[in-house]
Symmetry: C2
């Protein structure tokens, strides 16, 4: 469980602090609340307007964290939060926290029902990834404001800082920031300190961004009663199944390894087959063994060799060395560990059979975060009430919710991504699908307000 | 059988012109000739002296064809030929031909018993590859000169031009030069015309270098009665077997292919295993199928995937495309064709199973050249007479003899390469092994002089 190298995602060392789960909520028969709907036109207009900042030719967005585009987008989103009646603050990690007061929040300190996501993008990204979750959260509050409704809980809508690279915002809330700032230095060399300054954060006080405190040995108090994130799937499971809403079971844990295979480079003509120690033949067996971990073992895990480099990589030389990467993801940490055990046994057998040396170096480990069963059940119930088709699935990509779920009950709502494409200009979710997701978020909040006592 | 792209080794379109083989020679019981031995010290001194030109720190040699080092080495070798009583000429392809007259060669036109190799090297090469064959040939003539002996046949010692890159010298003798000079343009862009000028050749007259003429339909007359090349093995078969002399069965034919696998790039997290079309999984199966062609099918063929490149080659992306190369060598053209047939069937099954597209593009084809059985038997007999351990093996690297063997009976003698290393500074064959090889060459010539009537 140790991590590892220069990767930005540090190992999560503490276990989740999720409280005991209450029974699934039954939405109270309040007719007004049952009939509430988000304003789909307004939501989709705000998505389009936000996508103008950093807009790319095909409609995608380039809005990398801490760039002028990111700063401009943050200002726009803050103004929308204010318009929706929220008080807005920025924490030391640069997270934007919009808070809409609740009935049981006289002192402004009651645990909130929270939602949110991110508005930064990869260098060539889409307009839905992250943004939908933030803007749907604001739309939910806007609807309550229009109806002059306040829930028992305060509601928070959070814009997490730099989800696409350092994942710093949500990690700071979960108390998982590494103390060495160089760990978060940007790829272009900019120190994280000056990045945070640009968005109103403060590296020196980063620990103040933590959203839970220890009140007694083994006992924590969270400022967030529950967290629900709406996000595009970024995969094609929902589209393939023809389903409108994905009820997420959890965000997978992930291992990454770099594997080095050492054989002996030799002349491809003059070296008989039985004199060879061909590193690529061994690597090919590794690729198939890793694929078999995903395909042949029951479960929902995925296993990928994405990168493979041969040395010396010449047509007439028997390969002497290969370096390749392995990416392994699953919801169950125990299952992941069993897969890795099997993988290592496979590799030992391959090394013996091919007379090569195989070394495995872990470079990343992120623990899985399971969604709270009560929230999953609530979302499922909402889908049934709203007449939306739905299915359970894991999130195999990382999300801000993964960190927040380490200290408070968490759930995620997915809407379909066309052909599963994300992190690309072609990323697309229809206006109707965006609206459906926001409505499920709205009614989940109404239900959770009753489920969790403030 | 077509070739193909920018590769310097053109397809051989004509079949070998080897004459009908006479019965193996029995060396005549001439006591003087039986006792002849090369001067091993002189041979090894000349190897060391030649290695001074282009010498590298660890004792290797950098003497790429047409460089000042190559020109200087050619001058030195020519002077040694003259010292050994040979007449020296340079043909239009820049080949140096030293001729030691025979008893039955009044007009100087009798077909010669020929030997030789090359003195150019790869950019970082050894001191034995090629040079041993040339200098042993000169040493053989030197011994005859000292004993004031002339064989019935004239003897030719040939330095072939640019074996390591364009293979132009021996190809010109075999009439296999492509008419477009751009085909032989050097990697640095220098035209072949100016290269040939530097070494006394003349591109405009390249066809005059051909060493055989058609005298009637289906009938050719060769200027070379037989050709025998002594060379270091450049592999580790002899060393592994503990054998002193390799009797070469032929120079293998060779096919090279570029294979493109097209799948679909996808997020390695969000794409379930059953939604993938992973090009690297298909490529891994190809690597193992190609290796199996070499390992599991009876024969002496070798099959190699030496180069493999993945796209986009990122840890978290399911590979969308792979390009790889295949190198396939064997002595039998029919066996090669059967292997390729099997390979294509395998690839079709892989494409279906992995839902990928696999295309195969041939980029090189060289026909095998078999050694003349009479010469193989002669060399074997000499080894027995000289008390040298020996074994039959194919040459899986290309040699000048491969081209000469297309129009006249050809044989090759191998001596061991330490750990099989060649084309590197570590290339090494001991002085004793060099001397043994030269003695076998000497006695092979004495025997062939009786075997082939001048």
């Amino acid at each position: 469980m140790q991590t590892l190298g220069t990767n930005h995602q540090a190992t999560i060392k503490k276990t989740a602090l999720a409280r005991e789960q209450p029974e699934p909520a039954q939405v109270a028969p309040n007719q007004l609340q049952d009939q509430l709907q988000v304003n789909g036109d307004r939501l989709n207009r705000s998505l389009a307007q936000l996508a103008e900042i950093g807009k790319l030719p095909k409609g995608g967005v380039s809005r990398v964290a801490f760039t002028p585009e990111d700063v401009l987008a943050r200002q726009l989103v803050q103004s929308w939060m204010t318009d929706a009646g929220m008080e807005v603050r920025i924490d030391a990690a640069g997270n934007i926290i919009g808070r809409y007061g609740g009935q049981s929040d006289e002192k402004g300190e009651a645990p909130a029902l929270a939602t949110g996501s991110h508005i930064d993008t990869v260098p060539v990204g889409g307009r839905y990834d992250g943004c939908l979750g933030v803007l749907a959260g604001i739309e939910v509050v806007k609807v309550l404001q229009e109806q002059q409704l306040r829930l028992q809980h305060p509601i928070e809508v959070i814009v997490f800082t730099d989800e696409e690279c350092t994942v710093l915002g949500c990690k700071a809330m979960a108390g998982d920031v590494v103390s060495d700032p160089d760990y978060y230095r940007r790829r272009d060399g900019t120190p994280i300190q000056s990045c945070l300054e640009k968005v109103g954060g403060n590296w020196a006080e980063i620990e103040t961004a933590k959203r839970f405190t220890q009140v007694a040995p083994g006992q924590w108090r969270s400022q967030i009663a529950a967290f629900v994130e709406l996000h595009v799937e970024q995969g094609s499971v929902l589209e393939t199944e023809g389903v409108e809403i994905g009820v997420v079971k959890g965000v997978v844990g992930q291992y990454r390894f770099v594997v080095n295979v050492t054989g002996r480079p030799n002349h491809a003509g003059t070296t008989p087959m039985n004199h060879r120690r061909d590193a690529l033949v061994a690597a090919a067996q590794i690729v198939l063994a890793v694929n078999s971990l995903g395909v042949d073992i029951p479960g929902e895990q995925v296993a990928t060799v994405g990168s493979l480099n041969v040395s010396p990589n010449a047509v007439n030389i028997v390969p002497g060395a290969v370096e390749l990467t392995i990416d392994l993801r699953d919801l169950s940490q125990a299952h992941l560990e069993a897969l890795i055990q099997k993988m290592k046994q496979d590799f030992e057998a391959i090394a013996t059979a091919t007379q090569t040396e195989i070394t495995i170096r872990p470079v990343l480990h992120v623990l899985p975060t399971l969604c709270a069963p009560a929230i999953m059940d609530t979302i499922t119930h909402i889908c049934q009430t709203q007449g939306l088709s739905h299915s359970l699935l894991p999130s195999r990509a990382g999300h801000d919710a993964q960190e927040i779920g380490r200290f408070t009950p968490m759930g995620m709502i997915f809407v379909p991504s066309r052909t599963g494409i994300s992190h690309a200009e072609d990323e697309y979710t229809s206006p109707e699908q965006c609206t459906q997701g926001a409505n499920v978020l709205l009614h989940t909040f109404l239900a959770l307000d009753k489920l969790y006592r403030p």
